[in-house]
Structure formats: C-alpha cells, structure tokens
C-alpha cells in the first residue's frame, strides 16, 4: 500500500493528462530455482508488487542493486517474460514499436554492421530500398557510417554498442528498453554514449526505460528515477531528478548534479539495508 503512495506521487509530479507509455499495476513475479539433485525446487520472489506508470516521451531510470529484478521487470514490459500477478499495459505494441538494448551488444557475428542494423526491418519484411535508407540514417545517428561494412569482431566495445543502439532505433520505436547497456564499457566511452543517447532522445522523443546500477549515469540521463530495493524488488523511491533538462558533459561537474546523485544514493542504501 506504501507503493500506491509512490505512484500517486508520480501522478502528482507529472500531471494526469499525459498519455501513458507503460502502466504497471501490482506486478509480482516468482521464479522456481532447482535445488539439489532430485527435482526439488525453491521459489524465489523477484518482483513484489510493482506499480509504475510511465509517461509517453519520458526518460525513466530504474536503479537497484545487482540481481534485484530490474531486468525481469524490463523483460516483462518487453513481453519477453510473464507476470504471476498484476497487469502490464504497454501503449506501443506493434512490431518494432518496442526496442530492447541488452547489456552486451549481442550482434550477429556473421553479419556486417549494416546487416545487423537491418535485421529488425528484415524480420518485418520491409522492402530492401526502404530498409537501406533507414539503416543509413540509423548508422548516421550513432556515427557508424564508416564502419557499415565491417564485422562485429573488428569493432571496439563502444562501437559494437553503438551498432546495437542503431539496431534498436532503426524501426523508429516508441518505447526503448535498455538493460544496463553501457555497464561493460569504460568510463569515458560510457559518458560519450550517455550524451549521444540523450541527444537522440531529445531528437526523437521516444520513451526510455533505462535499467542501471550506476547512480551517476541515472542522474545524468533520467528525468525521473525509480529506485528498487534488493530482492524481492519493491519501489523505495520514485521522484524527478532535480536537474535542468538541457544536460551536457559539464553538468556532471555541477553541485546540483552531486546533490541529485546523493539523493538517489541515500534511497538506494535505504532499500538495500
């Protein structure tokens, strides 16, 4: 019931007229984990009553300790996993309207960068000419035009992740789900990708649900931060990030940035303890 309060807070912050991209109500998810040799199982509660309502066009960070169920929640929103209780409504339901970026780039090694980016269009049967134009545009947006004909194994980690983002954006999705996409990259590369992602979001205004365990990254990127507790995950903090919308690399050095990050850290620690 405490959770109802959180979502009421979100409504108060954002107003009620804005259409919702995602509406999550009372979601619970259990997993059965095998224990021992003879088929014995243990039930683990991953998500314990999640209520979350996400405005269309907003950038929401989902923060929580490792293994708390953030990814599970994201997979449920993507339709890749099911709920045991509760409902999830996603406004964007047509093929290609929801895009997912994994923690690793997960490109197909036997395809060139351009062919990887073209994959979602190919699976939907988009005609070749239209496909080529969309791929070209997506590659330009992540500055990978020069690497179009190269293969994933020839690229750096940052370039692979940019290709992965281009693949996600090529269908012009309405909802972009990102599961710790930059966690495996070095700090500088991650900063650059964060800035590029923000620029793309400002240009296209898709809704972003960004899972991370990095507080500074969440603070820099998100309009709104939702903090989950350790397993079983409950929402322990849900508030707007108190920073101006126009953020640049310099924002990371400002006192307001440190304050906003501090708030998130405090609620993360409270949720973990």
């Amino acid at each position: 019931m405490r959770l109802g309060g959180c979502s009421a807070l979100a409504v108060a912050l954002h107003g009620e007229e804005v259409p919702k991209a995602v509406e999550i109500r009372g979601v619970r998810r259990r997993f059965r984990i095998p224990r021992g040799l003879f088929g014995a199982e243990e039930t683990v509660l991953a998500l314990d009553g999640i209520d979350l309502s996400i405005d269309e066009g907003s950038f929401v960070a989902l923060i929580g300790p490792s293994g708390c169920g953030k990814s599970t929640l994201l997979r449920i929103v993507a339709g890749l996993d099911v709920t045991d209780e509760g409902t999830v409504e996603v406004a964007a339901r047509a093929r290609g309207e929801v895009a997912y970026v994994f923690q690793d780039a997960h490109l197909l090694p036997w395809r060139s960068v351009a062919a990887n980016v073209a994959l979602p269009l190919e699976l939907r049967g988009v005609p070749r000419e239209e496909r080529d134009a969309l791929v070209k545009q997506a590659l330009e947006e992540v500055e990978l035009t020069d690497a179009a004909s190269r293969y994933p194994a020839e690229l750096s980690g940052g370039m692979r992740m940019r290709a992965s983002i281009a693949r996600a954006l090529v269908t012009r999705p309405k909802l972009l789900l990102m599961d710790e996409p930059f966690a495996a990259l070095d700090e500088l590369t991650r900063h650059r990708l964060d800035e590029r992602l923000l620029a793309l979001w400002r240009a296209h205004r898709f809704t972003v649900l960004f899972v991370t365990h990095a507080i500074f990254e969440a603070t820099f990127l998100a309009e709104r931060a939702v903090v989950l507790s350790g397993r079983p995950a409950r929402i322990v903090h849900d508030a707007a990030v108190e920073l101006p919308a126009a953020r640049t690399a310099a924002t990371r050095g400002e006192p307001a940035f440190a304050r906003a990050a501090g708030t998130l850290l405090a609620s993360l620690e409270q949720g973990a303890g």
Partner: protein
C-alpha cells in the same frame, strides 16, 4: 620471410621423421631378412604401388565416390535430423536414444542387413558410410543450435520473427562452426564406413574398392599391395578431411575474424 620460415618449421620435422622411419623400416626388413609376406620393405610397397597403380587408382575412385556420397547424405540428413530434434524437447527425448543406439551398434553387424536391403555393391557401401558418419553431424549440429544465445532468441521474439526466420537467420548461422566440426569428423568416418562396408558388401561387377583390394591382397599374401591399399585409404581420408576443412574455413572466415 618469417612466414616461409614458419612453413619450414611446420613441414620439416614430420618430413624428417618420415624419412628416418622409412629408412629404419627398410634397413630392418633387409638386415633381419623378414619375409616380404610379413613385412615388405617400403621399396617393395612403392614398387607394388607403381605396378598396380591402375587397380589402386580405380579402387580409390570407387571407395572415394561411395564415401563422398555417404558423407553428403550425412551432411544433409544429419543437419535435417538435428533441426527436427531441436524443434521440441519431447521429440528430442523420444528419438535421441535411438540415434545413440544407431551409433553403438557396430557397422559390421549391420552390414549384412544393408546387403539384404540394397544388394551388394555401391549402394550398400554408401549406406554403410552414411550410418557410420551421420551421428557426429547430428550431435554437433544439435549442440550448436541449442547453444544459440538466449538474448538473440529474445531479440528475434521481440521483432515477431517466424519459426523459419529464427531457423534460417539465427540458429543455423549460429550453429555453423559446430556443424563444420561435425562435418570434419564425419568425412574421415565416411571413408572408414565405406571400407568396412566393402568388406561385407563390396563385391559387385564394378571396379573393386579399397576394402576389396585389402581383402584380396590379404588372401593372396600380397602384403606389399595390402600396405599400398592401406596407404591409399589413409590418403583418401586425408584428402576428404582437407577438402571439408578448407571449405569450412572459407565459410567461417567471418566468424574467426577476431582471431586474426
């Protein structure tokens, strides 16, 4: 420069070993006057190889064609069976034990059946080559398909890919390195299967294969020709292996670009 040196470094030791080994064999056979029907010296084997070159070449072609046909059947049916087994866990559980059983029954025991069904001759020999070589193709292809990364499956699911799209654009390309491994094992086995098949089923009107040549030279105590035929079998296996390895490394070049 360093390239040619490493080529020499790779080819010289086995060459030297062969020369020394053959010289010792020749020397021992002469010095101890071992009867030629027990252990003919390499020079006698070489003479037999030259003297019976037409018979050996014909045998290589006969056995080679049968193993190639058996191998191609293994490649096609092995991958197809793996796709079928991978389509559902129930199907796999139901049928996989029999694939294993097929593998454990000695081919020599099945060969008479093959003669009954196909008649003595190339068809039975090809069937024998197929039965011996199909199993590694099935297991390796199945393992490759099963090992497809779950995240990539999720990606295809997210974009509403059909079963056929998942198979053709994800599972088969993903399993290609493992399928290639299966094929490399299978091509050597197909030569073994063909020769064993010939022991039982190889007698027919056409040009006799290597298995027949081994049997007849054994019965005539032509041990020199027997050695030459064994050498040809090994050569045939090596050629098959080289062809399949070469073809697979051409296909897999993109996969291993990272290893360059």
């Amino acid at each position: 420069m360093s390239g040619s040196r490493s080529f020499t470094a790779v080819t010289l030791p086995p060459f030297v070993a062969a020369v020394v080994g053959l010289a010792l064999w020749e020397g021992a056979a002469r010095a101890l006057s071992i009867p030629a029907y027990l252990l003919p010296p390499p020079s006698a084997v070489a003479r037999a190889a030259v003297g019976d070159a037409p018979a050996l070449a014909g045998a290589c072609v006969t056995t080679g064609l049968a193993s190639l046909a058996g191998f191609l059947a293994s490649a096609v049916f092995g991958v197809a069976i793996a796709i079928g087994l991978s389509s559902s866990r129930v199907v796999e559980r139901g049928l996989y034990p029999y694939a294993v059983a097929l593998q454990t029954v000695p081919i020599v025991a099945i060969a008479p059946l093959l003669v009954l069904w196909c008649g003595a001759g190339p068809r039975a020999v090809t069937a024998s080559a197929f039965i011996v070589s199909v199993f590694p193709v099935i297991t390796n292809s199945l393992a490759g398909i099963r090992a497809t990364e779950p995240a990539l499956r999720d990606l295809f699911k997210l974009y509403g890919a059909s079963r056929m799209q998942v198979l053709l654009k994800l599972e088969l390309p993903h399993a290609t390195p493992q399928i290639a491994t299966g094929l490399r094992i299978a091509c050597g086995l197909s030569v073994i299967g063909a020769i064993v098949g010939e022991f039982v089923a190889g007698f027919s009107e056409g040009s006799p294969g290597l298995g027949i040549l081994v049997m007849t030279s054994y019965r005539q105590l032509r041990t020199d020709l027997l050695f030459a035929a064994v050498g040809c079998s090994a050569l045939l296996g090596i050629v098959m292996f080289g062809l399949v390895s070469g073809a697979s490394s051409l296909v897999l070049r993109r996969w291993y670009v990272a290893a360059r």
